[in-house]
Symmetry: C2
Subunit: 340 residues, 2 copies
Amino acid sequence: MTQTPVALTVAVDAMSGDHGTTVCVEGALKALVRHPELTLLLVGRAECLTSAFDGLADDCRRRLRIVDAREVVAMDEAPREAIRRKKDSSLRRALDLVASGEARACVSAGNTGALMGCAHFVLGTVPGVQRAAIVAAIPTLRGHTFLLDLGANAQATAEQLLQFGWMGTVVAAADNPAKRPRVGLLNIGHEDIKGTPLVKAAHELMRASALDYAGYVEGDEIMSGAVDVVVTDGFTGNVALKAMEGLARMIVGALREEFTVNTGRKLGALAALPALRAVRHRLDSRRYNGASMVGLNGVVIKSHGGADATAFGYAVERAVVEARSDVPATIHGVLGTKAS
Amino acid sequence: MTQTPVALTVAVDAMSGDHGTTVCVEGALKALVRHPELTLLLVGRAECLTSAFDGLADDCRRRLRIVDAREVVAMDEAPREAIRRKKDSSLRRALDLVASGEARACVSAGNTGALMGCAHFVLGTVPGVQRAAIVAAIPTLRGHTFLLDLGANAQATAEQLLQFGWMGTVVAAADNPAKRPRVGLLNIGHEDIKGTPLVKAAHELMRASALDYAGYVEGDEIMSGAVDVVVTDGFTGNVALKAMEGLARMIVGALREEFTVNTGRKLGALAALPALRAVRHRLDSRRYNGASMVGLNGVVIKSHGGADATAFGYAVERAVVEARSDVPATIHGVLGTKAS
């Protein structure tokens, strides 16, 4: 079964992130070129964005629009301040376009707290969803696993963990509609007696649910490919994700040091380059850029603040995937009825 | 200031782990050769252990004794059963030797739950210590960081997290007496408003304490070398450690695959071997084998169940370090008085 590409519009906060407009625009245009069904709304100071049309093919030009927004939310701005005072910011306007239905999804590399706060304020949570969560794909040797919550909430109830299981299932299914996602619950052992009272309560709820529930998984199974979705609270998920980022950075640092010790080592690096590049490509964090804020009435994708154009392009791709399968409506279908 | 090596005795559960006696004995003998002040008690079935003397230098023979124990605690045996029924097990006898003062420390690659359970039963916690914890060194680019709790307790109170800070400090100081250890508290952000109520309460306690407290650290800072000790509850610590193990395994798997795709890649691997070996050595998990169960009335070191002889040898080294600086007495000095 092949899907017919349906026209869809994505709003991009083009003033966000550590590297600003150039990177956002360049990344967004990569996605525009790749997806003929995509219409792109670049949100930000119009005078900074018009150059986006330069050298663009006619087909792409027709699918590109600029939406003027005069303000920028700073990377360290408090969510409350961003909501109250930055009503004409690129971040806010991009969310407004989703709320009004002019866009099906939005992407921002802006500060996570402000984006989450504004998204809650502008879009609200899907009826039946107790808490929105942040979910992202983590690479495995043969694919990837979706991990949530990555820090939208520092704490969660058992009922909320169950909902995260459903939301993760919807996101994983958007990614690969042919496969019924398997869900695991993060714990410190596989036996029923292991873990906190919270985890045990969530385990019972998941076991009794219609989820394709695989039971407990341990930290090393996040990237073993044992399951498609790993559920945990936002504290644990955030720590696990960052611990992995830290280790990856350390390994890259050690490789760089050891491959530049002397000329022999440098020549060795040259000979090993094809394999090292292949490994880098497989595990490239840029390909996994774009965390989804699920449970909101609209697709909201958070790009890493330090993303380059390639990485930002992948975040826009993520928005296309989730908008195409209408993740918010599917979540409503699953949790809206259950909660009522 | 150089320390004069004081004679010390370490009991080794020589029947434990996935690989059994051969690996335990070989590993323990490595430590015996390296440390002229060390006396080793090999605990297990005498008939399986006498071969340890074969080919050993006289000096080492004099410092080696075999302590007979007839039973073995299985790797999947319930802690309660091990405590009740396996009174003549190698694991239990090794702990008994510490309790009686015949050994200053013990090492086992046996099952974590049984070792922890028996250790609590036989040794008890240091007066003033609310909960024992598991601590291990995590490699960084320029050294290592001690992370605790790694799963002795699924939950912790703020007061217990503060105690973990002190116990981590004592362990880090045993490792490097010249340096006052800096302590960080694991959280999902650096700002005071971030985290759970538990973490915020522990933050206040640590800030008010005499610890050299660096404040919140995030998951990627565990291996950045920013601090010497990272404190968290056993659930989060266990997940973070295993997530890192899983990622390391995945990277090794990807390297192995990419370096064996074809002959060119294999030749590349050959040329890169010195650098790859150097990286492996730096991050070699075997060098970091040996988690310490701190807060007990005796040094108890848990080796990884799958450890090879080299790794098991490092676990015995860890026992030597902690026995030499008498970690339990130091912890009593710090927490025994505070609690009274």
